[in-house]
Amino acid sequence: MQMHSLSFDVSHTLAGGLVLISFLMLYQDRLYSLLNVFALHALVLALSVAWQAFIQDAPHLYVTAVIALVFKAIVIPVALHRIVKQLGIHRDIEAAVGIGPTMLAGMGLVALSMVLMLRVTAEADPLAREDLAFALSVVLLGLLVMVTRRNAVSQVVGFMSLENGLVLAATGAKGMPLVVEISVAFSILIAFIVIGIFLFRIRERFDSVDVSALDDYRGEHR
């Protein structure tokens, strides 16, 4: 009982930490810091998955944790750092909506996902319940990051933090086969590659990664 309580508290803390880091991500208006926070986000995710592997006694989840750590916390942020450096956009301030309203909206989303999840999954295992609620918050906050940013790189980051929320949800439930996680990881990797190429193409053509350049190309003006 004591063990259960402790494991519950730890995983709760990690999942809550993930939500908190999502908030941090919302707050960043420089790309480098955003990427750093994203790396932290992936690190906490990796810890959380590892802890789940430990308490569920499911060694294959360690693989997922390692994948999260290596790819999301190290490879992708480093690669994005390089991209930002190559493109010379590290000084851009690129939030489309002000920080204050964004934070307020984020709080609303967290409240919404808590209310919803705790009500919908009334009969489920309390550990999974909390975990799912946090995961939904992370997903929604990731979407909010995508919506409130103008820059393609930060939209990619928002998308990947959204994926982190999905992984959190997947590992919180017991008995999820490894295949799914690997496919999730690979889908992110592929998305990253595709979007990376996409960024360079935009850069080549428009000399900017601001997606509003695309709007100009389509004859639109905001």
Binding site: L112, L116, L140, L143, V147, V211, G219, E220
Partner: protein
């Protein structure tokens, strides 16, 4: 076991369809060559004649037993079912007779076609589609064939797509056809029920709740009615029918509308089980409105082919009234009266296919030799085109329901059915049916006036244009097609007993009752209920007309003065009347416009009088409104335009805004879930 291989009648009909489809493909290959017109129309003529023979044999021979055929195409667990029963045989007779006549006409008319490659491939396909709709025996094949027929006819409407107005006609037709098919789809979905068996046999066997039956009836009125031209779903018909080449107009007006009626009969009488009397009220109401409004529109029209198209709407109304009567009698178990009304409807289907095809052929002949459809530019054609004029005269007399032609017989039978209405137990019907009968009488009288106008302005008087003055008689193929139909009109009028007896298997199959056998009546009389109540003898009437007319001619020539007098003709105050000063179509319609126009069309006459000293002539301008278009279709079109304009902005958002839309939708759905669960 019989050693000879017996091919079932339905297989024979299906091979005809296959031959038509092959002809269509052949037409694509040949269409640019010189002789394509003769080859293709010759082939369709032969195939339609063979199919007509087969259908007649099926109808007159062993119509009681139907034959079925299942092809392994279509839905994998269902296949495509086809079935030939008495009802289908009758409608196949109508389709293939019209098809054969149109092919014969096309042999001559098709040579004047400026772009045959736009017509030739679709003509056999259209015929095949109509045959298939009638043969289909499951909902899936039915809808598929229905769409095939619609699309083939749409392609034919669009054959001359560069002419002004044709693109709009094609667009309106496409929209209305899609709407009709949607209604049919929903109707069959309801009929199939949750079990989802789309075979007609299963639908027929299933019991349908009154709620479903009422919904299906309304959907069929929308679906089949939009194809047939039931008011207020008729708007496409006067646009699309005239836009097609004339022999196709004849097929669309004379035959395709009948295929729609077949669909209505098949579902409402056959598949839906015993009818409810209240169903007949709505059918009677819509039918009578259609009849009167259709012919009023026709009366106001000055374009020959549009006039004919509007007259088709009137005839569809008449047929629906008769079907409504059959429903009313059938619901109350009055088998004999139901069979009478039903037979009258089928008889009128046959008759209308005869004379409407004939009249469209005549209009095509006029169009071919003068290049004009506007009646106010025609006139005096009886001198230049005597044979065409005679054939069209027969058609006009027949469609005006004058004896001894066929139109009179079927309308007379309908009135006999109307006179049975005191037997109906429901007071609503007791009161409504005579009123509907009065509407029918009004429509018949207006039809006569309309065709006096159409014939008089087009063929009599003096030519109003040089084109009319220099017109030439059309070729022999066209004339042959017209005269065959004219003879059929006369035969239907003087031998109605044969037709009624031939239709009795259909009535027995659908209603379980029939009219008395007419073959026993003396001298080709017909007696729909009993001879003591009413009977009609077309032969006698024709003899009377012929003898009295000859006698009158004889007496006039014998006893009138032979003295030759010459004097100035009284010119109604015009000393030197130009042809344009003749009675025109609009002036002929003026009294009727005065009576009905203010209410039905919001008609206004404006006299534009120039100020004193101005030498411009005064002008009379007539303002007519199509209230159904303006009140019903224009608002719908406006709403669609406004909303699409508004939604159009969604096409040009930024990526971030699209993401925001997705995000907002997700959050909204989650909120709904959070609040409601």
């Amino acid at each position: 076991m019989n050693s000879a291989v017996v091919i079932s009648p339905v297989a024979l009909q299906m091979s005809g369809v296959a031959a038509l489809l092959v002809t269509a493909i052949l037409a694509i290959a040949l269409s640019r060559s010189e002789r394509a017109t003769a080859v293709i129309y010759g082939a369709t003529l032969a195939i339609c004649a063979a199919a007509l023979f087969g259908a007649l044999r099926a109808l007159l021979g062993d119509a009681a037993n139907s034959s079925t055929l299942i092809l392994p195409v279509g839905l994998p667990w269902l296949g495509a079912h086809f079935r030939l029963d008495a009802l289908a045989s009758f409608f196949l007779v109508v389709v293939n007779l019209g098809g054969a006549a149109a092919s014969l006409y096309g042999l001559g008319y098709g040579h004047h076609e400026p772009s045959p490659h736009r017509v030739l491939p679709f003509f056999p396909a259209f015929l095949a589609g109509m045959n298939l709709v009638v043969l289909a025996d499951d909902a899936f094949s039915y809808l598929l064939c229905w769409e095939f027929m619609s699309l083939a006819s749409w392609a034919l409407v669009m054959a001359h797509h560069r002419e002004p107005g044709n693109a709009k006609a094609g667009y309106v037709y496409l929209v209305m056809a899609s709407f009709g098919t949607l209604s049919l789809l929903l109707a069959f979905g309801l009929l199939a029920g949750p079990a989802g068996d789309y075979g007609f046999a299963a639908i027929r066997a299933a019991a349908h709740t009154p709620y479903v039956a009422a919904l299906v009836l309304i959907l069929m009125l929308l679906g089949a009615g939009s194809k047939a031209g039931l008011v207020p779903l008729h708007v496409w018909l006067p646009l699309a029918h005239p836009a097609a080449p004339s022999h196709v107009s004849a097929l669309m007006s004379g035959v395709m509308t009948k295929v729609a009626i077949y669909g209505f009969i098949r579902v409402v009488f056959d598949l839906l089980g015993p009818p409810n009397w209240s169903a007949s009220v709505i059918v009677l109401f819509l039918g009578s409105i259609t009849a009167v409004l259709g012919i009023l529109y026709a009366m106001m029209e000055n374009d020959l082919k549009r006039l004919l198209a509007y007259s088709t709407i009137e005839n569809i109304g008449i047929i629906f009234v008769s079907l409504g009567l059959a429903l009313a009698f059938q619901a109350n178990g009055l088998k004999l009266a139901a069979a009478l009304a039903f037979t009258a409807a089928l008889f009128h289907v046959l008759n209308h296919s005869f004379f409407k095809s004939l009249l469209f052929f005549g209009a095509g002949a006029v169009l071919n030799s003068t290049g004009e459809r506007d009646m106010d530019k025609l006139g005096g054609l009886i001198h230049r085109m005597p044979f065409t004029s005679f054939a069209v005269l027969v058609g006009c007399v027949a469609i005006s329901a004058l004896p001894p032609f066929n139109g009179f017989v079927s309308e007379w039978l309908m009135f006999q059915a109307v006179l049975q209405s005191p037997d109906l137990p429901q007071w609503a019907l007791k009161i409504m049916v005579p009123a509907v009968g009065a509407m029918l009488a009004l429509a018949a009288a207006l039809a006569a006036a309309t065709f006096v106008k159409a014939y008089g302005v087009t063929f009599l008087g003096r030519p109003r244009s040089t084109a009319a003055e220099t017109a030439n008689e059309v070729d022999r193929y066209s004339l042959a097609a017209m005269f065959i139909l004219a003879v059929l009109c006369l035969l239907g009028g003087i031998l109605p007993g044969l037709v009624i007896d031939a239709l009795s298997p259909v009535a027995v199959e659908i209603l379980g009752g029939r009219m008395p056998i007419q073959a026993n009546e003396a001298w080709l009389s017909i007696a729909p209920i009993a001879e003591s109540r009413s009977s009609y003898n077309g032969l006698l009437v024709m003899m009377f007309i012929a003898i009295s007319a000859s006698l009158t001619v004889f007496f006039i020539h014998r006893f009138a003065s032979h003295a030759l007098r010459r004097g100035p003709a009284w010119g109604c105050g015009f000393s030197d009347a130009v042809p344009a000063a003749q009675y025109s179509g609009a002036s002929f319609a003026q009294p009727i416009r005065r009576v009905f126009g203010t209410m039905v069309f919001h008609a206004r006459d404006h006299v534009e009088m120039p100020p004193p000293g101005d030498i411009r002539p005064a002008r009379l301008r007539i303002e007519l409104h199509d209230l159904i278009w303006e009140g019903m279709y224009a608002p719908i079109a406006g709403a669609v335009a406004v909303s699409s304009e508004w939604l159009n902005q969604l096409q040009f958002l930024t990526i971030r805004r699209y993401l925001s839309l997705v995000f907002a939708t997700l959050v909204t759905l989650l909120l709904v879930l959070a609040i409601w669960s």
